[in-house]
């Protein structure tokens, strides 16, 4: 069973007047509670794939099946209903939200839009969501711009899980965070995945992060899949030129004595 199946996806843009394929014949599947990572150099098409899957942009060719149905065929009310099951978290939550909005407001929106809870129920739901992502419930009244980057990313995750999705697309969601906060957010994502069986399409340029959290990885190069497979196997022994270059370029911490870890 798959949550998401993408086949022969293509998206063309123009560069300097000439058409080029930002995404070229890309196919992959993600199962329930599975994390598939997309890796690749900048410009390799990762974010374009994320936007295609979220239907923020339309493909030039290819098929997207989500929860067993043709996702590209949906429109209007049926698309809106299905969208509740497919959420997203981006790198910069400040850019995603109105910075002056309160945390409660940000979490109220999906509950209201997708009619998940009545007006009377929503404050309780919001408190439960905050607790679920490890935040104090009194954070609800704070403005988005007043809280720390790590707290904001937790709010973004709370918002994403508010509609009980089967898939969350995360585009460089932990890239801007400090290492200690990043570890906590990754733990939270794993925890949510185990408890709620959420699948992740996890985009990152950082192979260390991918190796820590992803089951499988797809490595992209200029819009095409260069190689794919079990995340640790691919990273331990990359076959493609771009896979080898990514592994070689990842900074290594050579510790001779490791009492702590």
């Amino acid at each position: 069973m798959t949550v998401l199946a993408v086949s022969n996806l293509a998206k063309r843009y123009r560069r300097g007047g000439k058409p080029f394929a930002a995404v070229d014949e890309v196919s992959f599947e993600i199962g329930p509670a599975e994390t598939l990572a997309l890796a690749g150099p900048s410009g390799s098409g990762k974010s374009t794939i994320a936007k295609l899957v979220l239907r923020l942009i339309e493909p030039d060719a290819g098929r997207i099946d989500f929860e067993g149905g043709d996702f590209l065929a949906l429109s209007g009310g049926s698309l809106r209903a299905r969208r509740a099951r497919l959420q997203m978290v981006f790198q910069d939550p400040l850019a995603a939200f109105n910075p002056r909005a309160t945390v409660a407001r940000v979490l109220d929106d999906p509950l209201r839009i997708h009619a998940i809870a009545s007006r009377a129920e929503r404050p309780l739901r919001i408190a439960a969501l905050l607790e679920r992502v490890g935040l104090e419930t009194n954070l609800a009244t704070r403005a988005i711009h007043e809280i720390s980057g790590g707290q904001r990313q937790r709010v973004a995750i709370a918002r994403a899980i508010a509609t009980r999705p089967s898939l969350i697309v995360l585009d460089e969601a932990v890239s801007a965070l400090d290492v200690s906060v990043r570890g906590q957010i990754l733990e939270l994502l794993l925890d949510l995945q185990r408890q709620e069986r959420i699948a992740y399409l996890f985009i990152s340029h950082d192979l260390g992060v991918i190796r820590a959290i992803a089951h499988r990885v797809v490595i992209l190069d200029a819009g095409k899949i260069a190689e794919s497979g079990d995340a640790r196997t691919v990273i331990a022994n990359p076959q493609s030129a771009v896979g080898k270059a990514l592994v070689a370029a990842t900074p290594k911490l050579v510790r001779t004595s490791q009492e702590a870890s």
Binding site: G31, P32, A33, E34, T35, P41, S42, G43, G149, D178, V179, S180, R182, G183, L186, E187, L190, D191, Q193, R194, H205, D206, L207, G208, V209, R211, A212, I213, A214, H215, R232, I235, A236, A245, L246, V247, A248, A249, T250, P251, K252, L253, V254, R255, T256, S257, A260, S261
Partner: protein, 336 residues
Amino acid sequence: MTVLLSIRDLAVRYQRDGVEVAALKGVSLDVLAGERLAIIGESGSGKSTLALAIAGLLAKSALVDGTIEWPPGQLQPSRFFAPPSVLPDISPARGEISSSAGGFPPATPEIGESDRDGSISPLVGEMSGRTEGGAVEHRRSNVRGELPRLGRDIGFVFQDPSSSLDPVMPIGRQIAEVVHTHLHLTWRDAYAKAKTLLERVRLPDPEATLRCYPHQLSGGQKQRVAIAAAIAAGPKLLIADEATSALDTIVQAEVVTLIRGLVAEDGMTLLFISHDIALAASLADRIAVLRHGELIELGQTDQIINAPRQSYTRALLDAHLGLDAKPLLDRKGASA
């Protein structure tokens, strides 16, 4: 080893909405001539504040205590240097600040800058300390010894190369201006030197790149141009503040290799600022760890990585997700 610059009890406070933020607290540190020193720490720990203080680029409203001393003989001798005691009290050359930021002259020179060759250098303390009132003398005392000149004695590379490049000026002109300003070459020679610099930072087709505008280049290429401008005048000290953080892994590795090579070839001292301890360790001879504005640990890279004295340093090391670390997926039992 010779000391290039000595920082003693440096404290920097910012005022924001009437609230004071202590960005640096009593930092003392010697930067050795010719070394590659990394400054690491989490966001907000004061890394950029330290870099800006050394370069004389702090916001005017910043309150600075302590000293930054440049022992004699470490800077380029210059016929244009007035002894500190006779420095006229000119208004801070703001254009020079932003220009020096990337090593570029301003698009529109301000009054007092026409005679740039002979103008007073932007002083570390002067820039950081100049306030509306009469605090100038106090601030100036933050810098002792010879006075470094940004762009000529110090090259600065920022995280975002666009912030230091003029979008409407050809690349060649921007680099040639640095050369012309600081090395007093003719324009023809300055352009020739600009081309050599573009070759040194390994840009393909330097001749064509001279005529390019910044928007025609990729992020990695722009950062190479910013590096070319930063080293154009042959500075003693190169400061790179998260200079590779916005680049992808492969381009980051290329730019780090480039910086390593340039620093070695020119015998520059490198201050490499990064939140990434593994990246810092791959380049630095010594690593300084900042936390909440305090310098909590300083040592040889090998000691910091393998025998950190502070538990915080150890925590930073343990939080690093390397390609050999045990995946989080395994730490808590399997799923899927």
